[in-house]
Amino acid sequence: MPESVTTDNATHHDKTHTNKILPFEFRGQGFEYFKLWVVNALLTALTLGIYSAWATVRNNRYLHSNLYLNNTHFRYLATPIQILKGRIIAVVALIIYMVTLQFKPTLGAILGIALFIAIPYFVNQSLAFNRRMTSYNNIQFRFHATYWQAVMAVIIWPLLGVLSFGLLYPKAYKEMNKYIVNHSSYGTTQFHFSAKTWDYGKPALIAAAVMLVFGLVALGVISSAPALVALLPLIILPVYLVLIIFAIVTVNNIFYRNLHIEEHNFNANFTMPGLFKVMLINVLLTILTLGLYLPAAKIRMIKYMAENIRLEANGSLENFYAASSQNVGALGEEMGQAFDFGV
């Protein structure tokens, strides 16, 4: 069943150059993914987890291959053996750490400190691995940051956020995203992040104000009308939920609205009702099916995300070039994969 029509369209798209709005599009389907997922889950359970490396690759390949921009899909390039090596390293390292902590607590503590010092390095490696394993139009993504840049983003700024009782959190959050974006590139072309601290500060203040108001209301109820205390969760829980959704929507909108590559700008339009609807359906159906809806829920979420992100292309998307293939030490990359921090 050749789909040459799609192919033709794809090529003709690139001829018009200026100011094109290109939406992301996810073409995967819930049931199709379920079929992959259930076979993967079963084989993983039967092999006591060893197959999980193959499962991860197959699931990720499906999810990447169905994500389209400008009629071209993304690709996931990691091989099961890479993932398996990473997992074996992680498990062995964890066992060594636990055992040392039990029998030689001092040595264990030293190991713990060494691990802490190594965290920024692993974050770098992990991001580098994930970027390199993703390609678009046969050009790989890349990530390259120095150890100290990672230290600032992953340790120093969050620490300052805590020490300032949250006042510096928006700044810390911005620095984290800036670190992730500005050191990522598509081929040889770097991404650029333009968000200001205030972009995060404003919604953070709104959220803090809402929390303060409801906190005071709760305190008022507790002190003046103890009989109504039982009703408090009925107010507090929805507020909490709304705040979580507000946070997810805001953070994602800010991220994509400030993401650029050369003269091309990303944009996003997530809304609270939109995200709430997706989450509600997903949670309800997953509970009702005792978890079997999980893969379909994932597809629904990715579809929603993709639909609401777009690229505003100014000029041709054909002029990106592959970065020279550098030989990152295999172990380093697998360590990064092992301690996947999911940044």
């Binding site: 069943m1 090529t11 199709e32 997903n282 592959a322």
Partner: protein, 354 residues
């Protein structure tokens, strides 16, 4: 056989329309169409079968054929690529079996049932068995880690006991003979207040009784009943088992379902339900232990039933009166302890039988 698709040279993001055909040397030839060119390929490259890799098929996603030097050919003609792969009989072509499984409805149905069955059996039998094996082979050192749990509780929930030193030592004196057989559990008796009528065991061997609990008891035998129940928790290392079971459960779910970045709440739910089930099993095990020890000590087990009944009553008072019926039925699935009526009935049944 011509497979339509497009070609990417791996150096730039520019896409070219292209087609792939078998050549005469058991390899493939690639035609690349320039802009505007219709049917005549203006460039032709030959590849040996050994130098190309055909990716396995996944659903109906676009199919990739990796050519030499990071060059790539992409096609939606999955059937065409499949038959090409067969003709070339590439050894590196795998995954067609997986695709067959994935596209056959009956295998999917069987896989789903098998998965559900495996999950169920693992959670109900496998994980508790595995945990027992781990705990029984665990060196003792690990348990000393939990030393500071009472200090932590003292800082958060508990307040000093209002019982006088004399009252405390007479209670300790009362209990001492009953736990002398369990010296190795390192049992220490502590009194606190501020947590309602309750008694609980900490993993380092500390047993905490609250003032409210002591006030609730009508005789010494009732205190001893609950003492034995708590020793049962220690003897069977329930707290350690519970934390090990929780970690195995989480690892298991994570592994089987793949990555979980989207739905933590939902996947957390089964682990929580399983944890509560395990917890109820532990309570039953501790009850059973208490019954056996009470009988050995020559104490009437009815005392256990009586204090259990009163404890339940006192706890339902603090939580307002609960709606009985269906709601409490549901509640029993969401509780750390088995239904109190069931527990009391078990005690009385035990009495009948002995």
């Amino acid at each position: 056989m011509t497979i339509k698709g497009y070609y990417l040279d791996g150096k730039s993001s520019k896409r070219h329309e292209a087609s792939l055909e078998l050549n005469n040397h058991n390899g493939v030839k690639l035609y690349i169409y320039g802009p505007g060119a219709e049917h005549i390929g203006n460039e032709l490259i030959n590849f040996e079968a050994g130098s190309i890799k055909i990716e396995s098929r996944i659903g109906n996603t676009a199919r990739e054929i990796i050519l030499e030097n990071d060059q790539l050919f992409i096609s939606y003609d999955n059937e065409g690529v499949d038959s090409l792969a067969k003709t070339l009989s590439l050894t590196r072509y795998q995954g067609s079996l997986l695709h067959k499984f994935e596209s056959n409805l009956s295998t999917i149905l069987i896989a789903t049932c098998a998965l559900v069955a495996i999950m169920f059996i693992s959670v109900v039998y496998g994980i508790p068995k595995l945990t027992n094996a781990i705990v029984n082979n665990l060196p003792e050192v690990i348990e000393t880690q939990f030393d500071q749990s009472l200090t932590l509780l003292d800082h958060s929930f508990l307040e000093p006991s209002e019982l006088s030193q004399a009252e405390q030592s007479s209670l300790r004196y009362l209990m001492k003979p009953y736990y002398k057989d369990f010296e190795h559990l390192n049992i220490k008796i502590e009194f606190r207040s501020g947590f309602g009528a309750n008694a609980f065991a900490l993993p380092d061997g500390t047993l905490v009784f609250t003032d409210e609990f002591i006030a609730l008891t009508k005789n010494d035998d009732e205190i001893i009943s609950v003492l034995f129940h708590e020793i049962g928790h220690l003897k069977h290392k329930h707290i350690l088992k519970r934390s090990i079971q929780a970690s195995i459960m989480t690892a298991f779910i994570l592994m089987v379902t793949g990555d979980l970045d989207t739905l933590d709440i939902v996947t957390g739910l089964p682990s929580l339900l399983a944890d509560l089930t395990y917890s109820r099993d532990f309570e039953r095990e501790a009850d059973q232990f208490a019954l056996e020890q009470l009988t050995l000590a020559g104490i009437n087990v009815e005392n256990f039933a009586l204090i259990m009944g009163r404890l339940t009553q006192s706890q339902s008072h603090t939580h307002d009166t609960e709606e009985k019926g269906k709601l409490s039925k549901l509640g029993s699935y969401l509780s750390t302890h088995p239904d109190p009526e069931e527990r009391i009935q078990t005690i009385l049944d035990y009495k009948e039988a002995h």
